[in-house]
Amino acid sequence: MPLPVTPPNIRAVTLKIDDQDLSAREDETIIEVCRENKIAIPSLCYLDGLSVWGGCRLCMIEIAGQGRLAAACSTRVAEGMEVRTNTERLQRYRRTIVEMLFAERNHVCSVCVSNGHCELQTMGQSCGVDHVRVPYRQTPYPVDSSHEMFRLDHNRCILCTRCVRVCDEIEGAHTWDVMGRGSDCRVITDLALPWGQSETCTSCGKCVQVCPTGALVKQGTSAGEMVKDQHFLPILARRRHAQ
């Protein structure tokens, strides 16, 4: 899904977020307004510069008058909206979501190449996940080391689809996609070929840099060595959408 092109006549709206009176452009999403105003909203699938996916549900917020929670990354602001970003209920849900991410696949931070530079690990700490209350699934997932420069470890993947989106929307290669459902769901390269045999991959490494966890990494990194750099993304995204 391409990012929406900004239409010419945009109005401003006023809204309240956590008791702060704010104004925003009517085409903005709640997460964008929060980021501009330094209101912390946890997110894992959202990344400035990529289209909105709305899959991780960490950015859930409460909107006054609505019984249902909304995802801040995929909800536009509206006049008079009253938003709460950090109620006890939201904290409880977020904590549970992160715990389930840890329980679903296999995370061993102490020996992970991304230890100390991982968004899931940091998210766990900031949501107060000091242990996982649900039992670990303990199901092994494959590792694809066939690419000469990069490696994919499905054990660490949280299915945020950032790799899919950056490869399609920014690099224009669309090497990645998603296959299967439920616990069988996984990211694939080309039509589920080993990454090293992919004919579309340009080896640009953008997918590796945007991956929030130790799922996509450079070959040859050992514990704690995989540091990612996402500075390129907003710059390239702006250029692409200006075309």
């Binding site: 061993v108 931070c109 766990g124 242990h131 996982v132 209350r133 039992p135």
Partner: protein, 180 residues
């Protein structure tokens, strides 16, 4: 000897590397302050051979991987008012739990037959049998405080113990995380 108003503490290691206990010792000169307020009544760090009947705080390092670990965890739960899981092995299963992806028989074969040149055999005498699945402590007994980290930094252990001594509930996520 324990003096009446000191907090009694017991510690032991299950399937861990003793690194969390080493990190405990890394509190260095703060251990001297700590000794004014707590009494270590049972631990690999002291001589006592028996866990006293009533202990205020129990600290467990390591995951539950064999019958003996399970027994120790249950005994600690029974005799300690407050139980702490210290370190990632205790909190998540961590490195010991990586073997959960293989059948126990295959793990044993790998360790005692495939990689052994002299008299390959599975040890059975004087060693506790391994459990099929490695679990974090709270997978078997109720745990009150979780201190993640591999190992948790001495500062984190100091923070948790100081809070408990002051009668407050520590929030370990303020000072440590998985893999810290």
């Amino acid at each position: 000897m324990s003096t009446p108003n000191k907090i009694t503490v017991a510690t032991t290691w299950l399937d861990g590397c003793s690194g969390c206990h080493m990190s405990f010792l890394d509190m260095d000169q703060r251990l001297v302050d700590l000794a004014q307020q707590i009494d270590i009544v049972y631990s690999p760090l002291v001589d006592t051979k028996e866990l006293p009947d009533q202990v205020d705080v129990g600290i467990l390092e390591g995951s539950i991987s064999n019958d003996d670990d399970l027994e120790k965890a249950k005994t600690f739960r029974k005799h300690c008012k407050l139980l702490i899981s210290l370190g990632d092995c205790a909190v998540t299963g961590n490195v010991p739990a990586i073997r959960n992806h293989f059948k126990l028989a295959d793990v044993m074969d790998r360790a005692y037959r495939e990689n052994v040149t002299l008299q390959p055999q599975i040890p059975t005498r004087c060693v506790p049998p391994l459990l099929e699945t490695v679990k974090p402590i709270h997978g078997e007994v109720k745990v009150d405080v979780f201190v993640p980290g591999c190992p948790p930094h001495a500062d984190a252990i100091w923070y948790v113990l100081s809070e408990l001594i002051e009668g407050r509930t520590p929030d370990p996520s303020k000072v440590t995380r998985f893999g810290a």
